[in-house]
Symmetry: C2
Subunit: 327 residues, 2 copies
DNA sequence: ACAACTTACGTTACCCGTAACGATT
DNA sequence: AATCGTTACGGGTAACGTAAGTTGT
């Protein structure tokens, strides 16, 4: 009735696709690389960027012979695009239909995670996102980190934290390892021990690609001791078994190996100071903007629980089998 | 070389248009209204919303016979859409080509703004956005507010502030009015005056649709005095002229009428306490998300300056003309 | 009957991929 | 020669508007 309130006013528009194409072209420094990442032809990417430049009314890239260089206006656009893509990822993660998540997420984890709640995560993921396949990969923290770097993993659950702009670290709970020995070992009956009391015994650890190994080296160093690492084994279960057999001492999570302690196969040593707490994190590259990864991490933070026994624990009774008297 | 880093992963997508259509449908409560606002057919809007529901995997509206009701999922989507549209507005405002802003922005302003820096704003706007036409409208603050409410103005520059969720208020500087009288008036030569000294004289003000009038009524009330409003005129220049002619006293901004004081046509009265400062704001409805309005406000906040004389001041010498002895 | 949403349908326009070309190292 | 960006062309699809159909008030 007043009129004028529905006058045509337009300012040029752009699309999310254009922003995405521009952002990755800027980050990767080339249209071709961006095209490969986004599963489109390089021509399409170039056109989307050109359209975005039309929106901006000015070039966003300086087309060097071999490389793309951002113009000042392009640099500001990257910031905007980054915000937009981050918001987009949040929206997709929160609002998209569960079964629209389809594809593969490559998830790295350390063995303890695999032994406890990883199965739960896989189960929950399959339940809520039938089309989303999780490809878990168990390895040492150092290796996991390298694989994140090189892009052959999407996300890794491992001890942390990381201090890096590039990576997002989401807390996944924590555990405390304690020193364990075979009950047959003559090592401080039930009294308190000091770190140097341990020196006489070989230490069974996971290999040097384990983040824990590096973390605890620091603990030893603090005590003024050097590590005598004699036996290493990449399987935590086997480390426990070797410990039970009296081949050395080791640090193990009591939450998981409690039953073996209760059954008298392992003895928990009361060493002061205690080993430091280990905090676990889900780590992934911020720049990826992958809603599926974010969704998996969200699920992980809901189900993570190191006191839980995963289906992998089914293998434990067989470890006990050689010592029937434990029953 | 590592492989697997470029596996196809997709989660359903959506577009800005869909978000926009959904948001306005939710706010206005109907597809038809949304369609009118977005200058599209109602069919198109309904389809965009349907597509967004496909993305969400669930209905966002409950289709009542006459009204649309948001589902719980729809309510969450509105929040997301709001964020997205706000970010979109920022991007358009900051990055869009200047000449892509085309259309009409209806700008309300009070007279003092019109007399000082409004011309500058219009000039700057025309310079930077040739396709953007500003339609200024001078009126009292109360009227401006009503016209904002009813949608016949996009933005108004007026005394404030407003306290409302619905409106955005951007500061535009402030002024202080002082009491003025004709030098011929026998009113406290050069000594200090109290408010009650003014009671003997008629007060010339702008009409009751002026926000200032209401603001200063408060000042009088604080002094325990009732206002004797005898003459009102909607033109500030005429108020000044009537004051010069000795028909009464008035409050005027010394920054603008300083020359008349210096020329001896007006006398500035030293009344304590002073009239309160008046803060000006650009006010517009937050929910509009109109980048063009935001752009105009940004320009306004750059050029606002009540100490400036606009082109409208060209009319002032003619006001002086009747009193040639002032030269 | 009116006012709203839905559905159907024909047209348009846009977006993409292929392919040929040009430039640079 | 290899790699990257640009341009031109053709096909497919997705988005739009018109219009008819449906449903509640």
């Amino acid at each position: 009735m007043i009129g004028f309130s529905d006058l045509p006013r337009r300012s040029a528009m752009y699309t999310l696709k254009q922003m995405e194409a521009f952002y990755w072209s800027a980050v990767l420094g080339s249209f071709s690389a961006s095209a490969k990442k986004l599963h489109a032809s390089q021509s399409a990417i170039a056109k989307r960027v050109a359209e975005l430049e039309g929106f901006a009314g000015a070039p966003l890239f300086e087309r060097g012979a071999r490389v793309l260089t951002l113009t000042p206006r392009g640099r500001r656009m990257v910031e905007m695009a980054q915000e937009m893509l981050a918001l987009n990822a949040r929206i997709v993660q929160k609002m998209a239909a569960p079964d629209s998540f389809q594809g593969l997420v490559r998830l790295g984890a350390t063995e303890l995670v695999g032994l406890t709640w990883l199965a739960n995560l896989i189960d929950q993921t399959a339940r809520q996102h039938p089309q989303l396949q999780l490809m878990p990969d168990i390895d040492g923290g150092v290796t996991l980190y390298r694989r994140l770097e090189e892009g052959s993993l999407d996300v890794a659950i491992m001890p942390g934290p990381f201090w890096s702009y590039e990576y997002e670290s989401v807390p996944m709970g924590h555990i405390r390892n304690v020193w364990m020995a075979s009950p047959s070992l003559a090592l401080g009956g039930h009294g308190q021990l000091a770190p140097r009391d341990l020196l006489a015994y070989p230490v069974i650890t996971q290999p040097t690609n384990s983040a824990l190994t590096h973390l605890y080296d620091g603990w030893f160093a603090e005590q003024g001791l050097s590590v005598k690492r004699v036996l290493t084994c990449n399987s935590l279960g086997v480390v426990a078994q070797l410990t039970m057999l009296g081949l050395g001492i080791s640090y193990l999570p009591p939450s998981y190996f409690g039953p073996l302690v209760a059954a008298g196969h392992l003895r928990q040593l009361d060493v002061v100071p205690e080993l430091p707490q280990v905090h676990y994190y889900a780590v992934y590259k911020k720049a990826l903007f992958n809603p599926m990864v974010a969704r998996v991490v969200e699920l992980a933070s809901e189900v993570c629980d190191f006191n839980m026994r995963g289906s992998a624990m089914a293998g434990l009774p067989s470890l006990l089998a050689p010592r029937p008297e434990a029953q």
